[in-house]
């Protein structure tokens, strides 16, 4: 099997940039500064200070995921019905932001949302009361939704488009009205896309630190920010690595959970 060697560059890449760093993270996570074994770095996530950031992270990520889902799924249903020619254009417009640097977009959003920003200028012009949205969790959620929505839309759009029209016709033929069709046919058949979308939105949200930094004005600490500070500011690599490791466990639990719901009737995995 000579072909195996074709995979070698990727193997080197994976080892150097994924496996080794993970090993280092694990090493730092389970050792003290002096080099002795400890679990305290990982369990530090349950400290009152960190647990607050964790809960906030989970809460904001969850809200963002739900909002993305609420936008993406109906959109996919609408796009399914639209005439073929316009579909591609709409999808391109929706994923266009994906091609621009994320930090750049978040900075732009900061300009819009800030106290004397574009949003408030418009509100003032319309003689409406200004809103103070910047530096609040709401701003962070808005930023996350803005940033990650395409990652929810694409997989859901793909799986909704993949549903055979015959199946939907068959369900109405058997007497199912729209609500019943949605619940018993369309939703279950879109599940691979929905799970994939949730995975691709929830996990990056959970670990994000740039969005809360910029839109939260440094006042709102998510788990990502805490970890960043441990590494960059406090230079406490062991604690940073320990928290990262704890976060990694959250992510893995999440993946196992979604994986379990998958592969019920299809062999293929979502990711």
């Amino acid at each position: 099997m000579k072909r195996k060697y074709i995979a070698l560059p990727y193997l080197i890449w994976m080892t150097a940039f994924i496996v080794l760093p993970l090993v280092f993270v694990a090493y730092y996570a389970f050792t003290t500064k002096a080099g002795g074994f400890t679990l305290s770095n990982v369990f530090a996530i349950f400290d009152s200070l960190h647990i607050k950031a964790t809960i906030l992270s989970l809460g904001l990520s969850l809200s963002c995921t739900v909002l993305c889902l609420l936008v993406a799924f109906p959109l996919a249903l609408v796009l399914r019905r639209i005439h073929l020619n316009h579909k591609g254009l709409i999808i391109i417009i929706l994923i266009l932001p994906m091609w621009m640097n994320s930090i750049l977009r978040i900075l732009a959003l900061q300009m819009i949302l800030s106290k004397n920003g574009i949003l408030n200028m418009i509100l003032e012009w319309l003689h409406l009361a200004p809103v103070e949205i910047i530096n609040t969790p709401a701003a962070i959620i808005l930023g996350m939704v803005y940033d990650y929505l395409p990652y929810m839309i694409l997989p859901i759009y793909n799986s909704v488009m993949d549903i055979d029209q015959d199946l939907i016709d068959a369900s109405s033929d058997l007497g199912a009205r729209f609500g019943y069709r949605l619940r018993h046919v369309i939703l279950p058949l879109s599940k691979p896309g929905i799970i994939s979308g949730i995975t691709m939105v929830f996990i990056p949200c959970l670990t994000s630190f740039v969005i809360p930094d910029i839109l939260g004005g440094g006042k709102i600490q998510l788990l990502g920010n805490v970890i960043e500070q441990e590494f960059i500011t406090s230079m406490n690599w062991n604690l940073g690595a320990g928290l990262s490791f704890a976060l990694l466990i959250f992510v893995i639990i999440g993946l196992i959970f979604t994986q379990k719901h998958e592969t019920k009737y299809k062999e293929s995995r979502v990711w």
Binding site: D164, D166, L167, D169, A170, S171, S172, D173, L174, G175, A176, R177, Y180, H184, V185, P188, L189, K191, K264, Y265, K266
Partner: protein, 356 residues
Amino acid sequence: MQENILQLKNISKSFDGEMVLEELSLDIKRNEFVTLLGPSGCGKTTTLRIIGGFATPDSGQVIMEGKDITLLPTEQRCVNTVFQKYALFPHMSIEENIAFGLRIKKKDEAYIKEKVRYALELVNLMGFEKRKPHSLSGGQQQRIAIARAIVNEPKILLLDEPLGALDLKLRQDMQKELIRLKKELGITFIYVTHDQEEALTMSDKIVVMNQGYIQQIGSPEDIYNEPQNAFVADFIGDANLLAATMLKDELVSINDTRFTCVDKGFGTNKPVDVVIRPEDVEIMERGKGIFPAIVSSILFKGVHYEIIANGIGIQWMIHTTVYYEIGSKIDLYIKPFNIQIMHKPESEDEAVNHEE
């Protein structure tokens, strides 16, 4: 005279400016097995989709048991459909698939259980309740699709080329199954197919369609023996399709050779189309038939040989069980009642519009 369960009145439908159905009218009687037969693109599936409520006609009416259902949504119609590619719900078990319609109607579970059992028995798939559709073969999936439709006790069962994806042997078995089911259930079947043999085997009534028009409506025997135009003759079975002149009643001239026939009322010296089935061309010894011919090819087809013979400037297709060497000098004979005379279409439009 049985009552009509379904009437299509002047149905027209076009897609993207292309006419698919034009002024189509059709009456279907209760308890009939009606087959819409035609080549792809003839409008047969569109007709079925209009009856099922999946498509709305641009004009015309669909009348079921006297009520106009043209605009009634699919889910409120008393018809059920068996789809060509089965369309079983992949995320549900066989039992859940069959019970789908009954659960919507909120029937109680005991009734549903009994119905599912009965339906599975009817399609010979007892004990499949807990299986998933993808673990079944194509033929089995199609039976489940039929079971799923009939548990709802539709007044009309629509079948859209349901056997199209099955292999020959299975298709023939399923044809017999469908005839049996039709007898046991006593409901109206509307069946769409492009397979003329399937149509001839199963139907009480065949509706031959082409380019959005009905070409002929009749029993399988009528359609086969007395095609009304060249399209029907050519589409149903093999045929020698010839241009001829009707000299007078009961006398037709094909390439200046006179044949006695049984048709009347075409006038004198009128150009007509003639169809003669290959099995109706009889081979005789030299001097005993109507005209001489020479065998130019012979193919073994299983049940019969297919012989091509040249005579009076025409290539005749003949089905016979007797073998003849290539080059054999023979005579051909055609019984008068086996010569089917048809009006020649006067214009291009009439060529496809032969509905009376």
